[in-house]
């Protein structure tokens, strides 16, 4: 365990102290204590920057289950470090914000911070693990802690619905991903991602390659809310706003992005990867931005916008995989896509975090998030307004904010894809820039909605629960810091180029970088009059026009996706699954013992009959048999007649007597076949059994049978005949295939010499195999005790006296 491991585990350790702190220091908001941790972690992880800037990496291994090759390996490179800094940095800001957002007295803060710290630790584990199994463990921990956080207000129905939905979808993806990991580690014979990446070319030709890829991508897509798995994210907005800001904009939903980026060195050379990641990402981007416009809940808009932006990053990662197909570094335009992805990842975390916090402030100060009730807050909440302008304009891709730069790079990458002549892009390539442009227009429109529907227009105090005013300073610090970063990264993008972006991009596409050199990451603010600038101007112009006439065409949403949405599909499939399994269970778990016996016997017939047939096991060999004697046949006939009488019997007495007759004929068989002890025992026991039956006779029901439907009788008869047939067939076959002689010679020889007895059966029972007898005695004793207990103990029905006493 190195310091790095302790850093990952620190949030978990801290979490275990939170309830204690909350109890002992109730006067101080628990968040203040929690805040220390992410700040310390952020600062301490900064020290790795010099290492990763030189394309170095640090690996620390701690044994976990060494015999299985599962180790807790922490691995820091550019990509991990970028995520770690996002997680701890935004984590610190979110904790600070939550101190002012959550009431000290009304909320159960210990739960909140325990879950939040659990999540933080899990997220650190995800991005720092090199072992896929460890990665999976932390991955599921993020799902669980996210589930707990979404249902923080667990007395609300919608919270629980949202939490369950996100749990089902992300855990489904997580399990698929585990499958992918296992296949991958079987293919590469190692659990280490780095070692797997080293053998990427061999893995590419493996027959299971595509399956592993699709399974891992399912994990990434469900976590990162890609189409069609995005549906959990809008419902997760029932969580407290700090949670939405942290989990559902900046960190957890990017775990899928991280996964795609991390596994790019292994999968990216494949054309499938390019198409799946690129196309799903781009489609998600357009679809979610289109849907964001019709939302009326501010957090709903932000949720769809998060989905859309994640799709954008995902499509850039897909596009970046094209870079691997060009050898020379100098004219490799497609690495620009990877750089854009990393850059936008950072940008999105900053502006989306701040937008969520702004939404939280509006919610906190007005009592609603419904944009139909909000309006004219510009003069009342000037600082909040400024922050949301910065965030939303950056999201829309307007200068001078950082969103502008990454949007430009996004459009540039998509335009370049159209010119690529790989993977059938000659025919479909043009779709990429066109869709990207359309998505950007929608993005522009909903960004404008966020700003102007809330802060512009008429102030409607009568619709609000509270009298709105500016938020307290403490609540504003975090969004101000984030908004400041939005502007700083926008004006000085090269601040990040070589410190964070280059190492991260180098980790995503390592194979194209010749040793010792660095990717040329230079984000220039001004490219000149390029295609993408024209596209951006087009976005702004068309977006403005569409926004202006929004009331005219917003009605078309009513016609369009309303009827068939993925949510309806999700709900219906859950309902059908529940109904279906309920009726399935109901259909065969009838509660009648007869049904279960029928299943058991039918299975017995089927499995044994099938085996006899398939293995051709039936043998008939009468050479080794004893001759048929006169007495035996006579006895057999008596036995069968007695049996038939039981079957036909109408009264209980006939059945009992006939059963006795069967028993006595069996004991006569024992006499004929020279088993004196058996005959004796059988006689006695049959007598006692019959006596017992007769003893119960008085209390037993008068009729021995109940009327049954003809259908059941025939069914019973068929099954009974089948069982009998199978038993007889097996008996005959078994007898006809004697494989080796009996061991009885030993007993015959040694009964007298070693055990000192004459009666072989008795000597076997008490000497050679005495243990059987011991436990047979126990069986009798238990049966006797049971009978005694059944007769004597009458606990139920309030001390009703036993009428037999």
């Amino acid at each position: 365990m190195s310091l790095l491991h302790w850093a990952i585990l620190a949030p978990f350790i801290m979490a275990s102290f939170v309830p204690f702190v909350r109890k002992k220091a109730a006067a101080i908001h628990t968040g203040w204590f929690v805040l220390i941790l992410p700040v310390v972690l952020f600062v301490s992880f900064l020290q790795y920057l010099p290492v990763t800037m030189n394309n170095g990496s640090i690996m620390q291994t701690a044994a976990w289950i060494p015999s299985l090759g599962i180790d807790f390996t922490a691995y820091v490179d550019g990509l991990s470090l970028l995520f770690v800094l996002l997680i701890t940095g935004i984590g610190a800001l979110v904790v600070l914000y939550s101190i002012y957002y959550l009431s000290k007295t009304k909320e159960s803060l210990q739960h909140f911070y325990v879950y939040l710290l659990m999540f933080m630790g899990a997220m650190l584990g995800v991005v720092l693990s090199d072992n896929v199994i460890t990665l999976y463990m932390f991955w599921e921990l993020t799902s669980i802690s996210s589930f707990l956080l979404i249902a923080y207000w667990f007395d609300r129905d919608r919270s629980r619905y949202g939490a369950l939905k996100s749990m089902l979808i992300t855990v489904f993806g997580g399990l698929m991903m585990l499958g992918g990991f296992l296949i991958l580690s079987i293919m590469g014979d190692t659990f280490s991602i780095r070692e797997l990446a080293a053998q990427a070319p061999e893995l590419n030709n493996h027959p299971l390659f595509l399956l592993a890829m699709i399974l891992i991508l399912l994990g990434a897509f469900t976590k990162s809310a890609q189409f069609p798995f995005y549906i959990w994210l809008p419902d997760a907005m029932e969580a407290p706003t700090p949670v939405s800001a942290y989990l559902h904009s900046a960190t957890m939903v990017k775990a899928g992005i991280y996964l795609v980026a991390r596994f790019s060195p292994i999968f990216a050379f494949s054309g499938y990867w390019f198409w799946i990641v690129g196309a799903v990402g781009l489609f998600t981007m357009v679809w979610a931005s289109f849907n964001a416009i019709k939302q009326t809940d501010l957090k709903g808009i932000l949720a769809f916008s998060t989905v859309s932006q994640l799709g954008l990053i995902m499509s850039l990662l897909g596009a970046g995989s094209a870079a691997l197909h060009f050898d020379s570094l100098d004219d490799n335009l497609y690495t620009a896509a990877v750089i854009a992805a990393v850059f936008h990842l950072i940008n999105h975390a900053t502006f989306k975090g701040s937008l969520f916090m702004v939404t939280g402030i509006i919610d906190h100060e007005t009592g609603t998030r419904d944009i139909r009730r909000l309006g004219g807050l510009m003069s009342l909440m000037p600082i909040t307004f400024t922050l949301s302008v910065i965030g939303a304009f950056s999201m829309a891709g307007l200068p001078p904010f950082n969103g502008f730069l990454s949007k430009e790079m996004f459009l540039l990458s998509m335009v370049q894809l159209a010119e690529l002549n790989l993977f059938n892009l000659e025919t479909w390539g043009l779709l990429f820039p066109v869709l990207a442009w359309i998505g950007s227009v929608f993005t522009f429109i909903y960004s404008m909605i966020i700003v102007f529907k809330v802060f512009g227009g008429k102030f409607q105090p009568e619709k609000l629960e509270k009298k709105p005013h500016e938020a307290p300073v403490g609540m504003l610090i975090s969004p101000i810091v984030l908004a400041a970063l939005v502007i700083i990264f926008g004006l000085f993008p090269n601040l990040l180029s070589y410190s964070l972006i280059q190492p991260a991009a180098a980790a995503i596409v390592p194979s194209i970088i010749p040793n010792g050199s660095q990717l040329d990451v230079h984000i220039s603010f001004w490219h000149g009059f390029t295609t993408e600038l024209m596209m951006t101007i087009g976005v702004v112009v068309i977006g403005m026009i569409l926004y202006k006439f929004l009331p005219k065409w917003i009605g078309m949403y009513d016609y369009f996706p309303g009827r068939v949405t993925l949510n309806k599909l999700y709900n219906a499939s859950l309902y059908t699954a529940e109904r279906g399994s309920h009726s399935l269970t109901k259909s065969y778990m009838t509660g009648f013992i007869r049904s279960y016996l029928v299943y058991i016997f039918a299975f017995f017939i089927a499995i044994l009959g099938f085996t006899i047939w398939v293995k051709d096991a039936f043998r008939f060999d009468s050479s080794n048999t004893a001759s048929i004697g006169f007495y035996e046949v006579g006895l057999l006939i008596a036995l069968l007649i007695a049996t038939a009488t039981i079957l036909m019997a109408k009264s209980r007495l006939t059945s009992i007597i006939s059963l006795g007759a069967v028993g006595y004929s069996v004991s006569l068989f024992f006499v004929i076949f020279r088993a004196p002890d058996l005959a004796l025992t059988q006689l006695v026991i049959e007598t006692v059994s019959t006596a017992l039956f007769l003893l119960c006779f008085y209390h037993l029901p008068k009729l021995s049978r109940h009327e049954e439907k003809r259908r059941f009788q025939i069914g019973n008869a068929v099954i009974a005949a089948g069982v009998g047939l199978i038993v007889a067939l097996i008996g005959i076959s078994a007898h006809s295939t004697k494989l080796f002689p009996s061991i009885n010679e030993y007993y015959i020889e040694n009964t007298h010499t070693k055990a000192g007895g004459e009666n072989m059966v008795n000597v076997i029972l008490v000497d050679f195999r005495g243990f059987d007898t011991l436990f047979e005695i126990s069986v009798l004793s238990v049966a006797a005790l049971g009978i005694y207990g059944l007769i004597k103990l009458r606990l139920e029905k309030g001390g009703e006296q036993n009428e037999n006493e």
């Binding site: 048999t625 029901p701 109940h706 009974a720 005959i732």
Partner: protein, 113 residues
């Protein structure tokens, strides 16, 4: 003879299964009784029915019947007796408490759980 015995054991099994599938508790118990008879006969048959002396050394015979299946059957008889006795008392008690021996009526409903 063994072939014939196998067929008879099969018939006993068939009768036992038919009884066990019926509605009446008593018939089910009678069915289990028949089933154990069938099993015992089968055990004996599988050991071989070749004639020889009873397995008692005092006979001084040239050959004896196989003592091992006999010991097994003896154990089985005693155990099945114990189980049958217990079944019988359970049936008696069930009938006493519930007032029916119809297996269709002795069915838990969803309201019970």
């Amino acid at each position: 003879m063994e072939i014939l015995m196998c067929i008879v054991a099969g018939l006993l099994f068939a009768a036992a299964v038919y009884l066990m599938l019926s509605k009446s508790l008593l018939r089910i118990i009678v069915g289990t009784g028949l089933l154990s008879h069938g099993t015992h006969l089968m055990l004996l048959t599988m050991g071989g029915l070749k004639t020889g002396a009873a397995p008692v050394l005092g006979e001084h015979a040239a050959s004896y019947t196989d003592p091992v299946p006999q010991a097994l059957i003896l154990t089985a008889i005693v155990i099945s007796f114990g189980v049958t006795a217990l079944f019988l008392v359970i049936a008696y008690r069930a009938y006493q408490e519930l007032g029916t021996d119809n297996m269709d009526q002795l069915k838990g409903t969803e309201a019970d759980d």
